[in-house]
């Protein structure tokens, strides 16, 4: 390795590659319902649905496991901590922080998904002037910054 010195890397900076990097589908695709726009929307929807279903599964697992546990292991329903039955602790108090925690986590993640998607399709620094040199179908429309009826 040392004898040959550091390996040289050739970076090809082709014009179309540069374009591809910036050429993510944007709001125009969503509006005009192009193939890219539809794919983009569907992937966003799937991400939101996945998050919701993950949190829902977690909540259902936590809740649904207690009756099964109590039915299979009778000791659980007769147990008590400092004189208070475990069932009272679980059903009366312990579930609520879990539910709140799942809800808090979901809100944070859902907000982040929205922010990331907004950044993807309508980055704040992408000005209408810069996007005008690309094909009109997939560029950010200039008219966005104007009132809709203008």
């Amino acid at each position: 390795m040392t004898a040959q010195g550091p390996r040289r890397q050739v970076v090809v900076w082709r014009h179309d590659q540069v374009r591809v990097q910036h050429d993510v589908p944007g709001l125009g695709d969503l509006r005009e319902d192009t193939k890219h726009g539809r794919l983009l929307g569907e992937s966003y929807l799937r991400a939101q649905l996945g998050l919701s279903l993950m949190c829902l599964t977690l909540a259902l697992l936590v809740a649904a496991s207690y009756p099964v546990l109590a039915a299979l292991v009778p000791a659980v329903r007769r147990a008590s901590v400092a004189g208070v039955p475990v069932t009272l602790i679980v059903l009366g108090f312990a579930f609520y922080p879990v539910l709140l925690g799942i809800g808090w986590f979901y809100n944070r993640q859902a907000r982040q998904l929205e922010a990331r998607f907004t950044e993807l399709v309508a980055p704040p620094d992408r000005s209408p002037g810069r996007s005008s040199d690309r094909s009109p179908g997939r560029s950010l429309d200039r008219s966005l910054d104007r009132p809709p009826d203008a």
Partner: protein, 573 residues
Amino acid sequence: MPDAAVGAIAFVTLLTIMMGARGIRVARTTDDFMVAARQVPPALNAAAISGEYLSAASFLGIAGLVVAQGLGGLWYSVGYTAGYLVLLLLVAAPLRRFGAYTIPDFAAGRLGSAGLRQAATVLVLVIGWFYLLPQMKGAGITLQWVLGTPYWVGVVTLGVVVSCNIAMGGMKGITIVQCFQYWLKLCAIGIPALVLLFAAGHSRALAPDHSPEFTSATTVSLPQATDFTLRRPAAVTVSGLLDQRQYRGQRVVLCACRHSAGAGTRISFGTGAPVPVSLAMAPSSVSSWDSPFLTSGTNGAHPVAATYGVIIATFFGAIGLPHILVRFYTNPDGEAARRTTLIVVALLSAFYLFPAILAMLARLYAPALYLSSDSDDVVLALPSLLLPGLPGSILAALVAAGAFAAFLSTSSGLLVSVAGALSHDLLHGGVAAFRWCAVLAGAVGVAVALLIERFSLALLVGWAFAIAASSFCPLMVLGIWWRRLTRLGAAAGLVVGGGCCLTAILSTMLGAAGGGWGAVLLGQPAIWTVPLAFTVMVVVSLFTQRTVPGNVGQVMMRMHLPEALSRQAYRVP
């Protein structure tokens, strides 16, 4: 003691009417009436939603059920709270972004079908009225307990107050009223629970009593005919009908066996006598009060399956409650709808700590309360039983006021949505039609409520949840997340799911359920009607793919994209 409670109830009612009356000046257009012009901040809105949601079942019903049937009754409070988490996860933000007033509006707007709107409207009426009944019953037994008036007086009073209030004020007034009523309810159940817990002596462990005894000489009055058993023989004094014999204050030794008492019988037990167990609450109260399973409405058959039935109904039912969804349109945007819902989960969690504490105290220190087969007045009766004298009276007045606040707020919300569905979707009328529909809907509620006195509050509300979970829940969830839903699929799911669930519940109410699996499947039908409704909707939709609405892609994106983005993308004003 009744004076303080009467004063407190009158105060709450008057305050509600006055705050509602303020709404008259503010409410000008149909939009104001229906959703308070969408200008409500999250914290206020969350308290209003909770105030509307915490009904007679939460305030009186859960504690009553737990006292009578065991800790499994707490599944209702867990489920009522988790229902909001499920609502947050699946529908809160998209529904707000969709921007419609009611579930029928959503159904018609998403799937473009007038027929579906009519079907959904009918279901709103069914669920709304079903949910209204326990509120009316709660008012009936509260006034019965406070004033000694007949059951119908409380029912009619609540009906008149709420109908007139809604007809005059609309929802703008109601938002403020509902918010106030959440905090009133929290105080009215929290303060008595904590004071009584402290008074009962916090050093004594809250152990369940497997063989309860009377700790002091107690006279038990049985308002209805009741069958009960004793685990040990006991010497008692009886007036009234017992075991087909009429007594007039004679001393009798009752054997350790089954007895049946007529309505109005009074039995005096001495100190150390065993507490009789009412057969109406058997079997769970006999042996395992601390069992985590539910047996209400199923005659005690297959408790684990019945418990899952309640879990499914309550977890998925909140999505389909018509009076709750309309509240989400009062949020300014989808993000605010999410924040509001999370605050609601927190507010509900705080509230539901206290029915459990009260039920525990009642079970430990007031065994006479769970003899009567109607245990829904436990929360009302407990303060004056545990704390004699003035402090007990004050707490009892507070509880009565909170209970009345619960009936007022929930039935207000229900009447707004029932009257809204009648006037907006069936009659296509304006504000005047809305006022008349409010009065009409209240009158129908009162009439039916007079017939359902014998059903437990928690059970009745649980059934309303089951119907909502097997009809509107699939419609909302699939409508929001599945673009291939068609109007025929949705209609078929609503009719089959809601119809099966309603039929099962009505057959249980009419006593046709019997025992065994039949009792479970008819008494807690959500366990099969919810999956059935989802399946029917999906299968029928897949067979009718030609009728998928053309604008579905855009509608889906508008529901799920943040407002700023969809405004840019679709130029929605």
